[in-house]
Amino acid sequence: MPNGKRFDALKMLAGGPKPSRREFMKFCGAMAVFMGMGPAFAPAVAEALMSKKRPSVVYLHCAECTGCTEGLLRAYEPFFDEIIMSTISLDYCETVMAASGHAAHAALEKAIANPEGYVCVIEGGIPTFHGGEYGKVGGETMFQLCARVAAKAKATIAMGSCACFGGVQAAAPNPSGAKGVNQALAAVGVSAINISGCPPNPMNFVGTVVHLLTKGMPKLDHWNRPVMFYGDTVHAHCPRQEHFNRGEFAPSFDSPEAKKGWCLYQLGCKGPYTYNNCPTALFNQVNWPVKAGAPCIGCSEPNFWDDYSPFFHPIEDRPKG
């Protein structure tokens, strides 16, 4: 991804001079490559990013920490302001929308009555105990709100591991009965694309949206995750893999081996059991947990809070229970 000045790109977005058009196409090309389509796909990406009639998106928040939205705010090329001003029409999203109260509610009702339809994005697990009373928005349970909005959507995207699989609030003993979207809403015929991770890389979300806008439904894996982003394990592309292959493990965080960047498997790394593109896509363009010396916790996998913890012990050392 180019890391140049965005002033020219802004000019381009404002219909400015031609040279910056080239820069824009360069980043559409980079996006196309990121999606595994090859650079020839760039014009289609450009069209999707700059369409005159922007597709409507309704973004719901349930039992979550807003980390996924925060991640999305950090989207880079396209930037968040470009996404909401030039790519999609973010017709409902409590975190950024101007209106509150009934004005917000009216915006939601208008968006879901849109004859051209909308894409529903859900962040957070859905509390299901006692009819869903553990979580409400505007007096309506999150359970009911999501069922109502997602059932009518053209497509539904579960944003982050909470929406995909229930997340941290679903960890044992799951006091609120939190479930992932597909688990909670299967009965109303919802089948969401899962963009898992805690939070997911925003580029996995943006890439999925661009795919929906250009080529339709991406190929999904067993857990409904786009194969283009979740097709390989973290371990498969880990720069420390050669150490794993040679049996060179860091025994503790203060060891010379840790300082030398040896494999973190014995310190609890779950990279071999985790499907995501962290080592290649990077977070915030610069880093990812293992590069920062921290074992992968497997945050894109179902039930990782229970199945992959204790986090600082190899998976086979888990207490059997």
Binding site: L10, L13, G16, K52, H61, A63, C65, G67, C68, E70, G71, L73, R74, A75, Y76, F79, M85, I88, S89, L90, D91, Y92, E94, T95, V96, M97, A98, A99, S100, G101, H102, A103, A104, P127, Y134, G135, K136, V137, G138, G139, V168, Q169, A171, P173, S176, S252, F253, K259, N284, Q285, N287, P289, A292, G293, A294, I297, W305, S309, F311, F312
Partner: protein
């Protein structure tokens, strides 16, 4: 919908949901003569992280608690780590402390910036009015108010983008905004609104770089992974080029804070003087933070308590005087407990319950509700006569023609938030220099090994974006026996306590003007000024008919 202690004189209003906050909170107010007479704040979500932590290894807690909030991400992880290190009597090496300083200070600056422009901003900025601005004139205003030049080219671009956005007929995130169609409570001129809109967009670009700055040391953002019990793990970040990259982002941010945020908040204080007259609370407290990495003393943010808006005195904080009430919260019983012995046993009744009306507990200090956050921290520093705070605030008071006691207001809260951002970005330079010095000298001591004990207790405190955060852990049999998080938004936006004392936010709403219940902008300004980490809602009961009238707000 009726709450206990409600009088039947006024009308009731519910805003539902209040947007541009984190989470799910509900506010109900009773109105009389266009002002708020009574208020109830109710959080609308229970997740139960404290319950989930029981029986797990303590060192895993930071990863769990961090997921309490993705906005003030890192802070819960760090506070849990501090609680466990307190229990283990463990001190992380100085370089690890410095790295934590860098991550935490960047987080607070990021969080304040995003709150000021992207969460709070649309309470003050009329983006529609910006369409009628003259960018050349706006450029002149920028040059007069900051060290930036008057080049209007970017302002032309922003105006064009806004025009095209609105002309497309899809208002998206601005749908039903309270300024659409003109609203007298939005008082900035078109040129000023254009500048603020340009900074809204520029702020989005700056915040993503601040996320990158955190990730350089934390591994990723949101949700750090390199901070662990005993220190940090990021050996790869101890390269001079990484510190240099961090410094570049810091410099860019400082330019934005100095030349956009500070002039903008001064403009707002001048344009919205009435917001200096409402939103008042009484009592304030803060924890200390940013201690010297070597000695663990001399915190840059000092702790303390300030009673009854009296800027002439302050007292020291006693952690033993904090307790949590659940009499009015959806939990079993009504026993007041110390955080170490806190229980989290959910028991939902209904919002119409005469007693219990929120998922939030009600923390109290000496039995009193307290406000915490940037206003509490700056007011305390002012009362302590700390030079830097005094100098900055006095200069601000003069420029904005405001009195010191007007800090205790909706606008004052926002002023303190920006002033604190400016102070912190200036202070960071020293921490970056010190980190660089150590890294260049080859210091790689960032982790201290430890052994989990069988039984211990510990408390971790942290000055986070929204105020005083504390985590309380009891370890037994080497695992978590009890874990309680007492978070800033519980202090600020919790419910009443067993003695019926209002929380800070409930108190701040009393007297708040609401001349246009269809567009309750002032109520939103006040609630947003706390930078809530939960979502709220406000409804209307017409007591003459005894029923609830759903208010259509356009």
């Amino acid at each position: 919908m009726s709450q206990t202690t409600a009088t039947t004189a006024g009308k009731r209003l519910i805003v539902d949901p209040v947007s541009r906050i984190e989470g799910h909170l509900k506010v109900e107010v009773e109105l009389e003569n266009d002002r708020v007479k009574n208020a109830w704040v109710s959080t609308q979500l229970f997740r139960g992280i404290e319950v989930i932590l029981k029986g797990r290894p303590p060192e895993d807690a930071p990863l769990f608690t961090q997921r309490a909030c993705g906005v003030c991400t890192n802070t819960h992880a760090l506070t849990s780590i501090r609680a466990i290190e307190d229990a283990l009597k463990l001190k992380a090496p100085p370089l690890a402390q410095l790295v934590r300083h860098l991550i935490l200070s960047t987080l607070i600056i990021h969080d304040h910036l995003v709150h000021y422009y992207h969460l709070h901003g649309l309470d003050w900025i009329d983006m529609a009015s910006a369409l009628n601005a003259d960018p050349v004139e706006a450029g002149k205003i920028v040059a007069a108010a900051s060290n930036r030049d008057s080049d209007p080219s970017n302002l032309f671009i922003v105006r064009k983008r806004l025009k095209e956005f609105v002309a497309g007929g899809q208002l998206g995130f601005l749908e039903n905004a309270y300024f659409l169609g003109g609203n007298p409570v939005y008082r900035c001129t078109p040129e000023e609104n254009l500048i603020l809109a340009a900074h809204y967009i520029e702020g989005l670009r700056i915040q993503l770089e601040l996320g990158r700055a955190m990730a350089l040391f934390a591994g990723k953002n949101p949700h750090a992974q390199s901070m662990v019990v005993g220190g940090v793990t990021c050996y790869d970040s101890l390269r001079p080029e990484v510190v240099d990259h961090f410094r570049q982002i810091w410099a860019k941010t400082k330019e934005f804070v100095d030349n956009a945020m500070m002039p903008d908040v001064l403009l707002m204080a001048k344009r919205f003087p009435e917001a200096l007259t409402y939103g008042r609370t009484s009592n304030f407290f803060a924890f200390s933070d940013f201690h010297d990495p070597e000695s663990g003393k001399d915190p840059y943010f000092a702790s303390g308590v300030l009673w009854g808006n009296d800027l002439s005195k302050h007292e020291s904080l006693d952690m033993g005087l904090i307790d949590e009430h659940v009499a009015r919260s959806w939990y079993e019983g009504d026993t007041v407990r110390k955080p170490y012995d806190g229980e989290t046993r959910p028991m939902y009744t209904s919002y119409d319950d005469k007693e219990k009306y929120s998922w939030s507990k009600a923390p109290r200090y000496k039995g009193e509700a307290m406000e915490t956050g940037p206003l509490a921290r700056r007011a305390l520093a002012y009362a302590r006569k700390e030079k830097e705070t005094r100098t900055m605030l006095d200069a601000f008071f003069k420029a904005a023609s405001m009195k010191p006691e007007q800090l205790f207001s909706t606008m004052g809260r926002t002023v303190c938030r920006v002033v604190e951002t400016s102070m912190l970005i200036n202070r960071m330079q020293g921490w970056i220099d010190e980190t660089e010095k150590r890294v260049k000298a080859g210091d790689t001591d960032i982790y201290k090994p430890w052994k989990m004990v069988d039984e211990a207790r510990g408390v971790g405190t942290c000055c986070v974006t929204r105020g005083a955060l504390s985590h309380w852990i009891r370890i037994k049999g080497g695992v978590i026996e009890n874990f309680q998080m007492v978070v800033p938004s519980t202090w600020n936006l919790g419910p009443r306590c067993e003695n019926d004392k209002l929380s800070a936010a409930e108190q701040s709403l009393i007297g708040c003007p609401c001349p246009d219940p269809e567009r309750p902008v002032e109520i939103l300004r006040t609630i947003h000024s706390f930078d809530p980490c939960i979502a709220c809602s406000v409804h209307m009961v017409d007591n003459r008919s005894g029923g609830i009238r759903k208010f259509k707000i356009r």
